[in-house]
């Protein structure tokens, strides 16, 4: 297939998603591989994607400054939950695939094409996912130039693709906030898609703080260390990262409760 970077890599002997030794998964293991909270939701201007910054292995906090919301190109973002090694490799492959396609074919890969690329990688990864060594359940969000609107998709670890019409969540902290998003969308003062940019950012901060309250594998906000979640906004102008300064002031004014 013309302009297919993954194919080119495979011709060079590269293999994506190598399964480790398959073994019985033990209780609690599924929790380990999903230790995180990522979310994407619509707002007036487009789509907001956010993720906490904690990386865990079992009960151990490995790192508190992980970036789980990664830009694939100027118009699309992938938020990752699952085994980081596989997830980062996926992002690297996708980033190069989109660039390679654009540069060889002299046109941008279509939004549909990008979605397929994510699915294909997850499918190649099935063996590793089932062996328990490489399960990834990402959220893909991007601006569809043909339709002129930002969209959200989420995937299970086997590569099935679902469109998140209003929002999508993934990771171990996601059950906590899924209900809140559903409630907010139906009975909140305004539906998710109606909220303004600032409201969306405040909601994202509050949701991740909630997730961290009930899930030890989610980092939330660490005010003392000035550690804020990564929040990216996808609009017709492309992808923009919200600066830490802005996060800090929003957190101080709208999230902290001084009792």
């Amino acid at each position: 297939m013309q302009g297919d970077f993954l194919q080119l890599l495979k011709e060079q002997g590269y293999q994506f998603g190598v399964a480790g030794v398959a073994r019985e998964t033990q209780a609690g293991e599924a929790e380990i591989i999903r230790g995180t909270t990522i979310l994407a939701m619509k707002y007036q201007g487009g789509v907001l994607v956010a993720g906490d910054r904690r990386a865990t292995a079992g009960n151990t906090v490995m790192y508190d400054r992980t970036d789980k919301v990664l830009e694939l190109d100027r118009n699309s973002v992938m938020a990752i939950a699952g085994v980081p090694a596989t997830a980062y490799e996926m992002v690297r492959v996708l980033e190069h695939s989109f660039k390679y396609y654009r540069r060889t074919q002299l046109q941008e890969l279509s939004f549909e094409g990008k979605l397929r690329a994510v699915s294909k990688l997850l499918k190649d990864n099935v063996a590793a996912a089932l062996a328990g060594t490489g399960a990834v359940a990402p959220i893909f969000a991007g601006f569809d130039r043909e339709q002129g609107l930002a969209k959200i998709y989420f995937y299970d670890i086997l590569g099935a693709e679902f469109e998140g019409v209003e929002y999508a969540v993934s990771g171990s902290g996601s059950p906590t906030i899924r209900g809140i998003l559903h409630y907010q969308n139906l009975w909140g003062a305004q539906s998710l898609a109606e909220q303004g940019e600032e409201d969306a950012m405040i909601l994202a901060l509050r949701l991740l703080t909630c997730a961290a309250e009930f899930d030890s594998a989610t980092g939330g906000v660490n005010y003392e260390a000035s550690l804020y979640p990564i929040v990216k906004l996808i609009t017709g102008d492309g992808v923009r990262t919200v600066e830490d300064e802005r996060m800090k002031s929003l957190f101080e004014q709208n999230v902290v409760r001084h009792v």
Binding site: F5, L8, L9, Q12, E71, D73, R74, R92, V93, H96, K99, Y100, R102, R103, T104, L106
Partner: protein, 278 residues
């Protein structure tokens, strides 16, 4: 019959003449550094001649479109495999040309039973500062040159040298802004294009052949007068359009290459040219 060494030399010489003939009508390419990036510019009759190769590398070409495509693809493959397997900062124009492109082109040129690549290529690599910008040109026989500040492609190396000398003479320091860079680039392009035209006229004129061209004193020196160059540019634009792209030093994201759209070009080009906007 090619087993005899001198026949082989003769065959290579014939091949040179044949190839030189192919570039006669081609449009020159100019690439030059300015403070905020690199500008690439050429005249086009429909098929594009400027391309993105990697995050910080742009390509300009002259010659047969099919050959250019073939080599462009091999450059893209090399660059992306290297960038993926090592890192994007390990992808350099210099390595792509010296170890990737040049041996392939040279081999095709010297295998006299097979068709050579009808191409001349220019690679511009954006540095973190303008002093680190790097330009490489490669000829149809695989010979390459590397330099800073600017580079050019034209039908002969004498004309290329003339264009480069013009750019260097016209701006002691490199241009500060994109409009200044554009102003200089279009003049350098016009100079090259005019020199090519002159050369064609000289050759069709039935005079005795001039003494061997040493390259230092080209027989087709063109007056670098601004008005003459702009007049020629206007005339040339009746059958071509300007194609231009930039590599931007300070832009967010990893991909720094961007073609200039017709509206931007209209703003940047000297007034009185037919607008590229239909």
């Amino acid at each position: 019959m090619f087993e005899e060494p001198y026949r082989w030399v003769e065959a290579v010489e014939n091949r040179r003449q044949y190839l030189d003939e192919q570039f006669r009508q081609g449009s020159p390419v100019v690439a030059l550094s300015y403070e905020k990036g690199i500008l690439l510019l050429t005249g086009s009759r429909g098929t594009p001649k400027l391309y993105e190769i990697y995050d910080r590398i742009g390509l300009g070409g002259m010659g047969h479109p099919a050959d250019l495509e073939k080599l462009r693809f091999s450059l893209l493959e090399m660059a992306h495999l290297e960038g993926f397997n090592r890192s994007p900062s390990d992808v350099t124009g210099s390595r792509l040309v010296k170890y990737g492109l040049a041996p392939v082109i040279k081999q095709a040129f010297e295998e006299i039973f097979k068709a050579p690549f009808i191409v001349k290529m220019l690679l511009a690599e954006l540095g973190h500062t303008s002093q680190k910008d790097c330009f490489l040109t490669i000829n149809y026989d695989g010979a390459f040159e590397e330099g800073g500040a600017c580079a050019a492609l034209a039908s002969t190396s004498a004309i290329q040298a003339q264009m480069v000398a013009y750019v260097k003479k016209e701006s002691e320091a490199i241009p500060g802004s994109l409009p200044e860079a554009m102003d200089l680039a279009v003049r350098a392009w016009a100079l090259g294009s005019l020199a090519q035209l002159k050369e064609q006229e000289d050759e069709t004129r039935p005079t005795e052949k001039p003494t061997l061209d040493t390259g230092t004193t080209p027989s087709t020196t063109v007056s670098p007068d601004r008005n003459i160059l702009l007049t020629h540019l206007r005339a040339a634009m009746s059958e071509q359009t300007i194609e231009s792209a930039i590599l931007e030093r300070n832009t967010p994201g990893s991909s720094r290459y961007r073609p200039l759209d017709p509206h931007e070009l209209t703003r940047l080009l000297p007034k009185g040219l037919p607008s590229p906007v239909n």
